[in-house]
Structure formats: C-alpha cells, structure tokens
Amino acid sequence: MAHVLVVTSGKGGVGKTTSTAALGAALAHDGDRVVVVDFDVGLRNLDLVLGAERRVVFDVISVINGVAKLSQALIRDKRLENLFLLPASQTRDKDALTEEGVAAVIAELRDRFDWIICDSPAGIERGATLAMRHADSAIIVTNPEVSSVRDSDRIIGLLDSKTVKAERGERVDKHLLITRYHPARAARGEMLSIDDVLEILLTPLLGIIPESEEVLRASNVGSPVTLNNPLSAPARAYFDAARRLRGEEIAMHVPNESKGLFGKLFGRKAA
C-alpha cells in the first residue's frame, strides 16, 4: 500500500532535501517504488541534489494546471530504475500550488508508488502546509541546536492539527531524524545530546546522521549520499533509517555515546 511521507523541519538548512534524496534512494535501492516530490516552488533543489537538474521539462505545477500528464513530469533516476522525481516549478510562485491540485496529484501517485516522499520547503507557509497535508507519516529533521529544536516543536504542533489525518481525528506518525550530529562535541557538553533532543521533543527517533564531509561531497556531484558512498557513516545511518521506516527493527547506533534512558525508550519505538 502506498505510503505518503513528508520530510519537514520548519527551519531551513537542516538537511530536508539531503535526507529526502538519501532516504528515497535507500528505499528504492532495497526494491520499493519511490517518488520524491519537491514542494519548494520557486526554490527547488531536489533536482540538483539528485543530479537531474538538466532533465526537468515539466513539474508539479504543470501537472496541477493540466499542462502535462503526471507520466510526462516524472523523471526516472539514472542509477535506480524504481526511483522517480517530481520536480517543483522554479518560475511560478507558491500560490500556484492549490489544495485540490495537490490532493489530485498525491492520489494519482498513490496508485503508482510504494513511497511518496514529500520534500517540504522551510517555514510554515503554504508550501510547507501543503507538503504535510496528505501525509501518513512525517520525518522531522532536526539539528541538535536551539532554533532547530524549537522550530521542530512548532512543526510537530502543525502535524497534529493541520493535516488531513489530524482533521479526521487520526494521528500522523512522527519520526525524528537528527542530522549534523557531532558525537564528540555532544559528549563534551558543547552540543545538545540525542537524549536532550528526545526528551524535549518527545518524538520517536528514526535515526542519527553524523556530521560528515561525505554529505557535501555527494551533493556536489548530484548523487544521494546513500548511492555516492554507501559505506560512509551518514549513508549507513540513512540505510538503517530507511529500514526502520519499512518496519524492520534495527539497533540505534550513537557513536561514542552511551545510550541514556530516552534513547532506549524512543529508540526502540522508532518506525
């Protein structure tokens, strides 16, 4: 059954697009049919991170406006045949995304894919609320830093109130993905620890992505880090997170850090 997943954060620059690409590629690599949808109209970047920027002809707005069929706008990844990209429009503004249009596109994608991963823009405006609107579950990308944690808390509030599921009285499953984590700095008390973040946000942990030069290297060459260097620490962490999304039980690794009470509690409940 198709699963709609939103990757969101509130704050910009925390790793939503990187994580969308890495998780999408990891899920597709393991055999699922995956589409990643860019909701950042006017500031699209998922195409660039996936190395598909020169192949974009139509986009999600053209599909909504009836200019193109969905099959014309979908771009198949060059490396993984079951990974697709639905790009955002770079020239239109956010108002071109309509509630009905998005609902129709998501419904059509549900027939064709196992995973529909919606890459949310930063902020809490139209693009971000429409990206989460139809989500079955959500990944909240958080850096261990005060402004990111605060914005994540705000986004969690929106997921619990502004989504179709929430309005029906159901719950959107929420998963926390902590990115840009420095285990050594956290151990020295210079950075919020995993336990600190979990205790504050009270959301199950999906994964911990360590800060790594591999992430920048992968985006430089337009390849998800999970494909560019599958054995690197961030790639392994993304592969583990993808398996947890599929319901597998995978032990949570926190390099150089003994796991505290909250890590145990929420680590186990992840996915």
Partner: protein
C-alpha cells in the same frame, strides 16, 4: 583554571534548560487565542477612553521568569493633554 574553562564550555545544559522553559510556554499557548494581543487591545482601549496617545508610542515588554512573569506597558503621553475623566463628560 583549566577545569573551570572546561566547565564553561559545557553550554549544552544551558541550551537544554532554555528550550524546556520556552517550549513549555509555547505549547501551552498553542491553539489558544493570542492572550497578549487580546490584553493589549483591551488595556489600550480602557486607557484611550481617558487619555489621547499615539499608537506608535506604546511599548509592551514581557519577561518570562521561572516563578514570576512581568508584563510592562509603557505609553508615552504628551504633556498638556487634557485628561478627560469619564464622569466629567
């Protein structure tokens, strides 16, 4: 000295405490009417009934403390303005 320096570098506990305090307030305010906005309008309405002042000469400050919070209204009123008491009118 070195130990003290090492301790001072531990800023994460400060971050954690600030976040816990802030989010407790923000969560309780969620899905509630904007209390500060309502207070502001009603308090200014009462004062406006008696004293004329420029809306942009109003400063509102809030300081949230652990046990006590303060709400401070500072309204600049030009000298020589007649203060009209309600009963005088």
């Amino acid at each position: 000295m070195n130990l003290l320096k090492l301790w001072q570098r531990r800023s994460a506990p400060v971050a954690r405490e600030r976040l816990q305090l802030l989010l407790a307030h923000e969560r309780s305010a969620r899905n509630q009417p904007d209390l500060l906005g309502v207070l502001r309008e009603e308090i200014l309405d009462v004062i406006r009934r008696h004293v004329a002042f420029e809306p942009d000469k109003v400063q509102i400050k809030m300081d949230r403390g652990r046990s006590v919070s303060t709400l401070e209204f500072e309204i600049e009123i030009p000298n020589g303005i007649r203060i009209s008491m309600a009963r005088a009118s």
